[in-house]
Symmetry: C2
Subunit: 229 residues, 2 copies
């Protein structure tokens, strides 16, 4: 009932953690392991492929498979829609539009996204609340070159986030996480003290190499982003 490739994978991982196959050492090849576990090579292959993807082992043709010296540690973070994140906390989601303008892309934004000179962007600033308390401030710029429709969308009732996921369901992005200090304006908007440390994410998004949007999400004080791996 437990899939064979899982058994093989678990046993290999076990041999590694128990030190039977030390970091840097060579492991048996697929054919030999298939004999050991009395299964097809494809089954061993799947187990090993997954371990390689997870950064535990390193595979090369001809030279074979080795246990990684410094296992590549990586963590996956889910990127939820704010609405969902808030509702998952059993809180009531709320939305307020603060500001919306059409303007030429400022230089710093053109640099980040690689926009053409004179390109127009829709700049939207809005607040997402949880139980009527500020939760996340969204400061977003959308390229009208890439998404002309964005010029006329109504963001007074729901955020650009929700519109974008339907308009541009799939894209590539670069995300940064950092800490910022609350200035007077942020302190007022997020109901915190001036100077408080706030968690911020920045994200630039492209589709087919064309810049779509840049967004800053600033969370209320004390926010943590958590994951397990």
């Amino acid at each position: 009932m437990t899939a064979m490739y899982r058994v093989v994978k678990a046993d290999i991982l076990d041999k590694i953690t128990q030190g039977v196959w030390a970091p840097g050492s060579q492991m048996p090849n697929e054919m030999r392991l298939a004999e050991t576990y009395d299964c097809a090579r494809a089954t061993v292959n799947r187990a090993m492929r997954e371990l390689a993807e997870e950064g535990i082992i390193e595979r090369r043709r001809k030279s074979g498979t080795r246990v990684r010296m410094n296992p590549v540690r990586q963590a996956r973070f889910g990127i939820p829609l704010v609405r969902k994140e808030i509702e998952d906390q059993q809180a009531v989601y709320g939305y307020t539009l603060i500001n919306s303008t059409i303007e030429p892309a400022p230089d710093w934004l053109r640099g980040r996204l690689g926009l053409a000179v004179g390109g127009l962007v829709r700049h939207v600033c809005c607040m997402h609340t949880a139980d009527d308390m500020p939760f996340q401030l969204e400061d977003r710029w959308i390229s009208l070159d890439a998404l002309p429709d964005a010029e006329t969308v109504d963001f007074s009732q729901s955020g650009p986030n929700e519109w974008l996921v339907t308009a541009v369901p799939f894209s590539n992005a670069e995300m940064s996480l950092l800490a910022v200090q609350a200035d007077a304006k942020l302190a007022t908007l997020l109901h915190c003290a001036k100077g408080d440390a706030l968690f911020q994410t920045e994200r630039s998004t492209w589709m087919d190499g064309q810049a779509i949007t840049y967004v800053r999400l600033i969370f209320r004080g004390g926010h943590k982003m958590t994951t397990q791996y």
Copy 2:
């Protein structure tokens, strides 16, 4: 030369982004797609399986495969060793031990890690520098119940990080990212102003359900953690 399953995967993704298969809609089953692409079902299966892992589609037996309504966005962050992170920036890595003690685990730590009452921990505080400038402050607690060897290891020349990766090569962890305000002590250690917003990570690590270590990493001002996805 390009693997067939990659071609299939790319084409399916294309059909989704182009709207041929809209979010929420049903996709053809594996057999049908195998005929379409004139390949084996296993090949289609691999393409679809990867798309499912990436959160693009959703698969269920009997009811088939659908495009996800709200594609699960997720980002992977690599977790490098500090030394490597600094050297990758062409800077010279340096290490200084600030403090090291053996003490009973404080209550908050016992709570986080689920340690037994009276359990001893090794508490190490140290600084990682880049070109002799503070880069990352490491505040770490290691459970001596889990790792008795940690009591006598010499951390004056290299950090607990480097020792742990060899002593406990594989483990599970929970990581949080947040922003903290520099107090007087942090300001001195990290050469920043009191009140500055600093980026901090917290990580609890277990192996076979047994708590190993808890660590806080506080970065110098302006640090960003970046990834692409």
